[in-house]
Symmetry: C2
Subunit: 397 residues, 2 copies
């Protein structure tokens, strides 16, 4: 296992545990542990009920502590998108990791192959997605090179990713996918482990009907492709995919054996804009930016959280819990948020007032922060329980 | 001076200096030093010619090494937006710092006051902006507390920020500003240093005429407010403000004594969309994301840079230098960019190809990265000269 490059928690954060929420500086990223634990429990229960494995995406929280918590709750392992994220998870003791993305650079594939051997030595396993001949050939070269250097040659689990409607990565379903499966099976160091079929765009379709329609097409592609592969006498052990938005559809399909949903743990403002499918567990907001008003005028107030504190790719954050009435949050740039009452007769917050924001999108919001501050007992009246390091923050390569 | 919490440069980066650009991993943030140095020289020359001080905004690069380089080129100090940024700059040896933003939390103001004393002891100085009575009163309390604890009581330079049209922070020009000046002057530890008048929205007006009109109104507000203050026998030593978009207007006004422009150093795709004022120096793109194609289909290719590698608040990045013809970059989410040729007959990049992106907005892009890789001799054929640490990355509080 690579040594963890842990830095010491800064002094101002290290003394927070045990202190009241009021002691948390602004802007800070705060986990409300009570709803987070309920989200976790509901996900575990959902997976048990549907007899489906869950391998939450650690690209969302980037924290080895939260990954371990998910494993303790029944997750089979984690997904990541980047080799550096996989290395950070492994450094934190996670031994079952799936890089659910394509890796092409030979020097990165050498790291992938080394990690496959390290995890195998720790009785774990590494998996990766492929969608091109180059990807398969280069991965096999890297694995063969690593196997020559190791006393105990490992294999890597390889999922052929098919494009099921998102138009991003993935080989075309059917014939092209089958051809790639054959290529994977040509290499002794690569073990064909199944199909990855993830439809990112379907996660954010607002109506359950539209999500069901989109995933019905996904399932058709998967069934066709799986049948084609199985007709060659090749087993498709596992189909993996799904996100927080569409997971009830994949779970009900009988085709997907593994769910990759990650955002359910924190829920963000964008996922909350989805109309909930009745089959979906109730997931509550558990990630917040604590912010303070630093300036106020007659018609607006300004808080100290801008888009260096929260990502805005999926919309602006929502202000919650302001007792003076609903507030609209307008983008004030990198370091500021501009607040206006939605109803004209409502009270604006004053200089010094504290506000809580639900970020539009949790994954890139977490990636802006080195630490999250985990609170038990609620945002109002609770206590800081622990500091959660974002171990894979900025792990881009 | 607070001790710097420098972590060691990761091994993979530490061995890059002296190596060719091809050795840089993807996605990485790369500084093209040749245009950056030309930008710096042109800014210094512009300021000299217009007899105006320049205090570049370090919120943009967040690097003490680049701040020192700017000081060596004639900058009088740096601006920052956050107390934690000021502390990071001070830890890197910068002794003339202006927090061009409001600070309200008492525990943060205690840090501001401590820093004012530390910088004064190092023969430097700290300045801060205020726009409310609470801000002035709390700052004075924090300074008085710090003065009691220090053998050599320091003062802090205080700029009254006026809202000159952006509708964000700032007290109203005229009477309200004068009232706040009086409040500042009531406290021995606060030294009224002048006015801050920054119009953020004006920076991105596309036509030079619109920018000139907006800044003409800014100048009117400043002139009125200054006259009102001076009629009370109070000197307004300095008016500070301006950004890369409008700086030629403030410089020509005869009213602004100091320019805060920061983005000129790197120039981003958004500022490049401004029609250049003939009076503006030519600033070249000097900040790039190096990315690699990891997947390709018939009608698109996918690269490994998404909005965890580059901020998208001011638009998507622009692909530059692809020899197959102009490519459109579409958002592929946190970790992917989707590339399509703009003309149908042009060649798509293939799996493994390297592309260069100009980020839409440099400030929040830099804030995503722990390090920037500085290259001399150009992106094609150049050599890595040094690794630049983003010292104040994530310095939010």
């Amino acid at each position: 296992m690579k040594p963890s490059t842990k830095t010491r928690v800064p002094e101002a954060l290290a003394r927070l545990p045990g202190q009241p929420v009021a002691a948390i500086d602004t802007p800070s990223l705060v986990i409300d542990l009570d709803p987070m634990r309920r989200n976790l429990m509901r996900m575990a229960e959902f997976a048990r009920k549907h007899r489906v494995r869950w391998r939450p995406h650690a690209k969302m929280h980037k924290s080895t502590a939260l990954a371990r918590l998910q494993l303790q709750s029944g997750a089979v392992g984690v997904c990541v998108q980047k080799t550096a994220e996989a290395e950070a998870m492994a450094a934190g003791g996670i031994t079952d990791i799936f890089i659910s993305n394509e890796v092409i650079a030979p020097h990165k594939l050498a790291r992938v192959a080394a990690l496959a051997h390290e995890l195998a030595a720790a009785h774990g396993q590494l998996a990766i997605a492929v969608d091109s001949t180059e990807g398969v050939t280069r991965l096999a070269q890297a694995m063969n090179e690593a196997r020559r250097q190791h006393g105990a040659p490992a294999v890597i689990n390889v999922f052929v990713e098919i494009d099921v409607g998102q138009g991003r990565c993935g080989v075309a379903p059917g014939g092209p996918a089958l051809a790639l499966v054959h290529e994977v099976r040509n290499h002794a160091a690569l073990r064909f482990a199944g199909l990855q079929a993830y439809h990112g765009a379907a996660q954010h379709l607002r109506s359950p009907e539209h999500r069901r329609e989109a995933i019905a097409r996904v399932v058709e592609h998967v069934l066709d492709t799986r049948a084609l592969i199985e007709r060659q006498g090749i087993a498709v052990e596992l189909v993996t995919g799904a996100g927080t938005g569409s997971m009830v559809c994949e779970a009900a399909s009988g085709v997907f054996g593994e769910l990759q949903a990650g955002s359910f743990l924190f829920m963000d403002a964008d996922y909350a804009r989805n109309e909930r499918d009745p089959a979906q567990p109730v997931f509550e907001h558990a990630l917040f930016v604590k912010t303070q008003v630093i300036s106020a005028a007659a018609d607006h107030a300004v808080c100290d959280a801008g888009h260096k504190s929260h990502a805005i790719d999926s919309g602006l954050p929502r202000v919650v819990g302001w007792p003076g009435g609903e507030l609209a949050f307008a983008n004030g740039g990198d370091e500021h948020g501009i607040l206006r009452p939605i109803a004209a007769d409502r009270k604006l917050p004053a200089v010094g007032d504290v506000l809580w924001l639900v970020p539009g999108h949790c994954d890139p919001t977490v990636n802006l922060h080195d630490y999250m501050i985990a609170v038990a007992g609620g945002l109002h009246g609770g206590t800081v329980e622990r500091i959660v390091r974002v171990d894979a923050r900025g792990a881009l390569t």
